[in-house]
Symmetry: C2
Subunit: 201 residues, 2 copies
């Protein structure tokens, strides 16, 4: 059999690839074949990069960001505004905000949002670390940059509740029509919110 049950290296690669987000058994097989066909220009460099990442990339003990340094480059950057804190769900959200180049404060990564479906409870999030940071340092403002989904907003409420003993002002991202978004394609909730929060010209 070409695809044996005896866990040959190719089958092992396919097995682990198929556990990755967005990859199923079929796409994992396709990727594995592609890797073997591009052994020198893709597979070998990818192994080296992954090995390097596994060895050197760690979670920043302050904010939870992934970096080769700990504290991470953002937490260690003295040119950033250390009195402004942005609470996000994941590292991907940090990257998304950093790509805009419009934010110069610090981050706190919760490591997810509460989710009844995925069984993620508030206890699994980095909320105690956030409380500790807020206790230790007087932030000027805390921005809750969480998704405008049910889970994201539930998480925002929980975080807001935990932060209520502190006098720090808490803000959230504005809701409204996405830039470039067509009204016709927007859901009713967004239109209602955008109407309510309309701005004077």
């Amino acid at each position: 059999m070409a695809l044996r049950k005896d866990h040959g290296p190719l089958e092992q690669v396919i097995k682990y690839l198929s556990t990755l987000p967005g990859l199923g058994p079929r796409s994992a097989r396709r990727v594995a074949l592609y890797l073997l066909e591009h052994k020198m220009d893709v597979l070998r460099p990818l192994i080296t990069a992954m090995d390097d990442a596994a060895e050197h990339v760690t979670s920043c003990h302050i904010c939870g960001n992934l970096d080769t340094l700990n504290p991470c480059r953002i937490c260690a950057d003295t040119t950033r505004d250390h009195n402004l804190l942005c609470v996000v769900a994941s590292v991907a959200d940090v990257w998304a905000i950093e790509r805009t180049g419009s934010y110069k404060g610090l981050y706190h990564i919760l490591g997810g949002v509460v989710s009844a479906l995925d069984g993620i409870t508030p206890e699994q999030l980095r909320i105690p670390q956030l409380i500790e940071r807020v206790t230790r340092h007087d932030f000027r403002e805390i921005i809750l940059a969480l998704s405008a989904t049910v889970d994201g907003q539930t998480t925002a409420h929980i975080v807001q509740d935990k932060l209520s003993p502190f006098s720090v002002p808490i803000t959230r991202l504005a809701h409204g029509v996405p830039v470039g978004g067509e009204l016709d394609y927007l859901d009713d909730g967004t239109i209602v919110t955008a109407l309510r929060s309309r701005a004077r010209l």
Copy 2:
């Protein structure tokens, strides 16, 4: 910057992941984060498996299949029918046919199909190796198991043409209604072919 331009290990992983089929920059970032979050249970074993595959998996010099052995397990299997040859485009096709468990002959992998769009010419396919096999060995039948696409059928015609000096019977896969397929969703070409090749009950 969290996503730096200085080619840190995480950025390298994302760079190589985004070259894989079916993965774009966004899904590559998602996969990279997932790998870092599952360092011990996914990333490390995947590195080991990929390293193992890169080291041990080679292309069979007879049929072109990928295996840790050369000749591959299929070519070396004396219980298989060595007088029956199935010509396929890729290793994935071998796996697809092997999964059915209904074929016990040998394979010949062309390594693709001719494609004007992708610039793949007949010279890039393993056709000379096929001719050599057919010259050396008297096959009872050669099955052209190529896709029913324009490129697949063009390749089939080219292979058929190259094999014409030999007296070996050449067959192709049957065209018709896929098992479980609804007539209403089938293209006209398939319905016409299925009608023409209708079988007596």
